[in-house]
């Protein structure tokens, strides 16, 4: 009986030794690779954007939880009107307001990274956008300082009022940056397509059919560029003295769609051209 037990133990060791250890070894490098990716300072712009997006989404999720708690606390205070319920509402208000600032700061950092990494943005425009986003972050940091010093509901409501006062500017800076990114992405595609078409045309036999197709393609690309230039010019001039809102953002998106349709047509012509 003892020998049988010994035999089973031996077999068990054999199985564990063969399958158990590789499983542990397979998990260990995976963990270390993710840890190194987080701590590594020399991240690419894509990796930085991915990391910041993850942070932003986590903060937003936490904000939503805190906002729900605040709504309940505020409702209780409005119903009971007691000192205890007011203190509880003030406590939750500080947490939710701080979380809101953190979420917004992460979002503006994300926009900064996007502006920095997107090709096709004019250098001057890029500098303007970076400056705007930095200004928004500065406003948020100032309000965060106010929040840290606030301990009663009056001070907390004052901090909230300060942010509410800057809402228009903060929203405008974000939408402006988003529109510039949209414009730049179309511009970058036009540039790449233009270079590609010219290269293909130069390196192939220029038959009358090819020449005609190339001319048609160039005209489509020129029309796309002209359409985009018109919208971008309007966008950059309006940015100087007007605030952007969700409504104006959507209006610009509709206009960009026209340029984008022309771009897709040019892509379709190019596909035929290279065949």
């Amino acid at each position: 009986m003892k020998k049988l037990t010994l035999l089973f133990v031996l077999i068990l060791f054999g199985i564990v030794g063969t399958f158990g250890v590789p499983c542990i070894l397979a998990q260990a490098p995976e963990k270390s690779s993710t840890e190194s990716a987080k701590t590594e300072p020399g991240l690419t712009s894509t990796e930085k954007i991915k990391k910041e997006t993850e942070t932003y989404l986590q903060l937003l999720d936490e904000y939503r939880t805190q906002e729900n708690k605040f709504s309940i606390a505020k409702q209780q205070y409005q119903q009971l009107k007691t000192l205890a319920s007011l203190e509880e509402a003030a406590k939750v208000s500080k947490i939710v307001q701080t979380q809101r600032i953190k979420t917004l700061l992460s979002y503006y950092s994300l926009l900064e990274l996007l502006i920095d990494s997107t090709d096709g943005i004019d250098l001057n425009q890029k500098a303007i956008e970076q400056k705007n986003l930095k200004r928004s972050k500065s406003i948020l940091n100032n309000i965060n300082d106010m929040l840290e010093e606030s301990n009663d509901y009056t001070a907390l409501d004052q901090a909230n009022a300060a942010l509410l006062e800057k809402q228009e500017l903060l929203v405008s800076d974000a939408y402006e940056a988003l529109l510039i990114i949209k414009s730049a992405r179309i511009q970058s595609s036009i540039d790449r397509l233009q270079t590609f078409v010219n290269k293909v045309y130069a390196e192939t036999d220029q038959t009358p059919e090819k020449v005609r197709a190339f001319e048609e393609l160039v005209n489509t690309l020129n029309d796309t560029q002209a359409s985009l230039d018109k919208i971008t010019k309007k966008l950059t001039s309006e940015a100087v003295d007007e605030y952007f809102s969700l409504t104006s953002y959507n209006q610009y998106i509709d206009q960009f769609n026209e340029s984008y349709t022309a771009l897709r047509q040019a892509v379709s012509y190019t596909e035929e051209f290279i065949q």
Partner: protein, 130 residues
């Protein structure tokens, strides 16, 4: 003569056993039991040794297979990179480049709202304004 004598003795003892049957059932089963235990004891030992050898051999085989698989794994990854079988033509290079440009153009769709403004409330006051 001796054989004859033996036969005679045997026959007598047989007859005796037949006659004195009361003693026989006691003596014979005892002998059989002792015989069985010695036989099974002898049989168990080789079976255990064989089982142990088979068990150890089995685990060694598994270890060898697993070790071979572990060594092969990176090799498979390295080999998985496509080897250029033939030099790509100019048209293939353009098609590849075009696919990349087309993908880029698709990503430029302004309708894609990849980073919308955070859905946060700007009014989180405790005292509602009248």
């Amino acid at each position: 003569m001796n054989e004859h004598e033996d036969q005679m003795i045997d026959q007598t003892s047989f007859q005796e056993a037949q006659i004195t049957g009361a003693q026989q059932p006691v003596s014979i089963p005892v002998e059989k039991q002792t015989m069985q235990t010695t036989v099974t004891g002898k049989k168990k030992l080789p079976v255990l040794i064989i089982l142990a050898i088979v068990g150890v051999a089995f685990s060694i085989i598994i270890m060898i297979i697993a070790a071979a698989n572990m060594k092969k794994a990176p090799g498979i990854i390295l080999n998985s990179t496509p080897l250029p079988t033939a030099t790509p033509t100019e048209n293939d290079t353009w098609k590849k480049l075009f696919e990349d440009i087309s993908k880029d153009a698709k990503a430029a769709d302004p309708a894609i709202s990849d980073y919308p403004f955070p859905p946060v409330s700007f009014d989180l006051s405790i005292q509602t304004k009248k």
